[in-house]
């Protein structure tokens, strides 16, 4: 850690892990409901659990991205964040919006649009919060001593993510366009600009961890994100097959979706090639393991499994079945969950001065149990999903009869999810043991007037490990 203001990252990471833990709880609620144990139906019906589960996902990933950006940008631009105090305000605003939204979901306060359930008044708060974040990051780059490709790609990704949130807020009379522009947010995020953010973060981690020359890493970064947009923008078409949009989307969406795995394959090859090329052995081996993990798992989950059901001929039968859940879980965990974990595994030892994430057995187990757990979960979803497709969509069996027939696979899912959760718990244990950042979370060190987060009174119990 070179700059005091980088410490704000810790708060965002801690928030990420709290939200992830809560996401798992709601995931279990849904897993049990699918098994037929829906005892919480009166208080937390499935649609509430589902909205909480997916929105927590989005917010914890975004919180992780923000934390990583606050860590990386000072280092890349070689200066403190402009107005670090505002970064704490931005954090607090994010938490407040998140809490209100999650509580609201339990009282039927939402707009039922998948992934964007946050009700409209809160959307405006989200926009203000994200604009503040973009201002802080952009201002720091603007005033920075140097401008690196890594920071620009990361910033462009974050800025586009913010702008693309807006089409999702337009109120359309037609369900077609409600859906059409909802995907501008959701798809162009996860298969577009979030991959840009991923590219920026991975490039930063590779530069730090492998010691390969920055010019080489950043050159290939352009190639990888180039493939991402080349395939991902028109790949949006795979959401337009059956919502009333013209027929040519079948062909355009099919072809460009088929190219999407190339971007992820590029990312995987890029990570592995740079790690091999790197002569320097960085002391934080686990951060490199997580970094390569996210490169590889994103290819399998997002690239390969996505491709497995985006061809129109296949998608006609798998669309809207548990096959989507199979792809979704490994894609989000592989591409974005593990990415945030890679950032944390690298940055926390730097922030806290405690090397736990570098070599602790617990951290190593955290990686393997969560990864194997997620692979097993994907397997359980795959079996349930494929069975559903053949029984319901191909043979015409009644929906509920099919759901009861595949209940047993959700027992497998819950077992696998328990293994996955164990991995997350182990990671949280090391996060806890690492303690607060060096010198505690305070603004005083930067010579700023007292106040803000320092009033919270957070101080590191044992500052130096």
């Amino acid at each position: 850690m070179k700059f005091q203001s980088q410490k704000v990252a810790w708060l965002f990471f801690a928030t990420s892990l709290v939200l992830l833990a809560l996401q798992l709880v709601y995931g279990f609620i849904m897993g049990f409901a699918h098994m037929g144990y829906d005892g919480l139906h009166e208080w937390i019906p499935f649609n509430t659990a589902r909205a909480v589960h997916t929105n927590l996902l989005v917010v914890w990933i975004l919180s992780g991205f923000m934390g990583a950006a606050y860590y990386i940008i000072p280092e890349e631009t070689d200066r403190e964040l402009i107005a670090p105090k505002l970064a704490y305000v931005q954090w607090a605003a994010l938490v407040i919006v998140g809490v209100i939204a999650i509580v609201g979901f339990h009282f039927n306060w939402w707009e039922g649009r998948k992934f964007l359930e946050i009700p409209r008044p809160l959307d405006f708060l989200v926009v203000v919060d994200v604009l503040l974040f973009i201002f802080l990051i952009g201002g720091t780059i603007w005033k920075g001593k140097r401008r690196t490709t890594t920071s620009l790609v990361l910033y462009f990704g974050l800025l586009m993510a913010a702008l693309l949130y807006l089409p999702g807020m337009i109120d359309f009379r037609s369900h077609l366009f409600d859906s059409y522009y909802r995907w501008w947010v959701v798809h162009l995020w996860v298969e577009g600009v979030w991959e840009l953010i991923m590219g920026g973060l991975v490039a930063f981690l590779l530069i730090k961890l492998t010691g390969v020359d920055r010019e080489i890493i950043e050159k290939w970064l352009y190639v990888v994100v180039g493939f991402t947009f080349l395939s991902g923008i028109l790949g949006t078409g795979h959401h337009y097959y059956y919502i009333g949009a013209p027929k040519y989307w079948l062909m355009v969406g099919g072809i460009f979706s088929a190219l999407e795995p190339l971007a992820f394959l590029g990312m995987a090859m890029y990570g592995i090639a740079m790690a091999r090329k790197g002569g320097r052995k960085h002391s934080n081996r686990l951060a490199l393991v997580w970094t390569l993990g996210t490169c590889i798992m994103s290819f399998v989950g997002a690239g390969f499994l996505g491709f497995a059901h985006t061809l129109p001929q296949v998608n006609l039968y798998t669309h809207g079945t548990l096959v989507t859940a199979m792809h979704g879980h490994m894609a989000f965990w592989g591409a974005y969950g593990m990415l945030v974990f890679a950032c944390m595994a690298y940055m926390l030892p730097e922030l806290t001065g405690r090397p736990l994430f570098k070599h602790s057995k617990i951290s190593e187990w955290a990686f393997w149990t969560s990864t194997i757990g997620m692979i097993a979960m994907t397997g359980a979803f795959a079996v349930a999903g494929v069975a559903q497709v053949y029984l319901e969509r191909m043979s015409g069996m009644d929906f509920l009869d099919v759901q009861e027939a595949i209940e047993v696979h959700f027992f497998g899912l819950v077992l696998a999810a328990s293994l996955f959760s164990l991995g997350i718990i182990l990671f949280v244990v090391d996060f806890w043991r690492s303690g607060l950042p060096l010198g505690g979370i305070t603004l005083k060190a930067e010579g700023l007037p007292a106040g803000g987060a320092s009033d919270v009174g957070l101080e590191a119990p044992e500052a130096v490990g």
């Binding site: 039922g112 998948k114 366009f177 050159k219 923008i233 028109l234 009333g244 460009f256 015409g396």
Partner: protein, 229 residues
């Protein structure tokens, strides 16, 4: 060897090019939308139904046009699959229709709200969806109708609206419950009447719901099933 500026040009060029194509196709999608989605029929009632659909997060369990969650049935063709009378009865008390099975929230919609939802589903069903949802290619074909089977055409209206959603007669209808062609061999009038009137009282835990039928309507159905017409 590829230079960094060439790599950057590839990234920017590809992004701008596909971005422009994407925007062009979006404009064309707007141009074609009125014909493909029957915008003329998109009345205020349809929009009201759409608002009910989103404000209660229906896609948190159901899918519509394949989009949503995978906990409850796909609803794109629900009007032709179930028929309006069945849906009206179902929304009023979802658990009554599927006792002991997966639950749906009871929303206490007004009759007007239910009609709005139905118009919304009707409008959705009119959208040109490029063939989704597909007819199941391996659906078992109905066998030859056995001699002595009932004809669905002769059935009372309420029977056609509600009972066939789950039961077959004359080879036509749903597959959730047993076919009803041979009911007359298994039931006498008082037993059948009591069963339809309150299935739970006869066989607790049965999937057969208590249907909203008036006494004459129930009598007509019993007459029909016993072949007494």
């Amino acid at each position: 060897m590829l230079s960094k500026s060439a790599a950057r040009a590839f990234f920017l060029g590809g992004t701008v090019l596909t971005g422009l194509v994407f925007i062009g196709m979006t404009v064309d999608t707007h141009r074609q939308a009125p014909a493909r989605t029957n915008t003329a029929a998109l009345t205020d009632e349809v929009k009201a139904g759409h608002v009910i659909w989103t404000e209660n997060n229906c896609m948190g369990c159901h899918t519509l046009l394949g989009e949503g969650a995978y906990y409850a049935p796909e609803l794109t063709k629900v009007i032709s699959r179930r028929g309006k009378p069945w849906i009206r009865a179902f929304i009023k008390d979802p658990e009554a229709m599927f006792p002991g099975r997966r639950k749906m929230v009871k929303y206490d919609f007004t009759d007007e709200q239910i009609e709005h939802l139905l118009t919304f589903f009707e409008w959705i069903e009119g959208i040109d969806t490029n063939g989704f949802p597909a007819d199941p290619p391996y659906k078992p074909v109905d066998g030859p109708v056995a001699a002595g089977s009932l004809a669905l055409a002769d059935a009372p209206e309420k029977f056609k609206a509600l009972c066939v959603a789950c039961h077959k007669v004359g080879g036509k209808g749903g597959i959730v419950g047993p076919a009803l062609d041979d009911v007359r061999a298994r039931y006498d009038r008082p037993a059948l009447d009591r069963w339809i009137q309150d299935p739970q009282a006869v066989k607790p835990g049965t999937a057969m719901p208590k249907l909203p039928l008036s006494d004459p309507e129930r009598a007509a159905i019993v007459d029909y099933l016993l072949g007494a017409q």
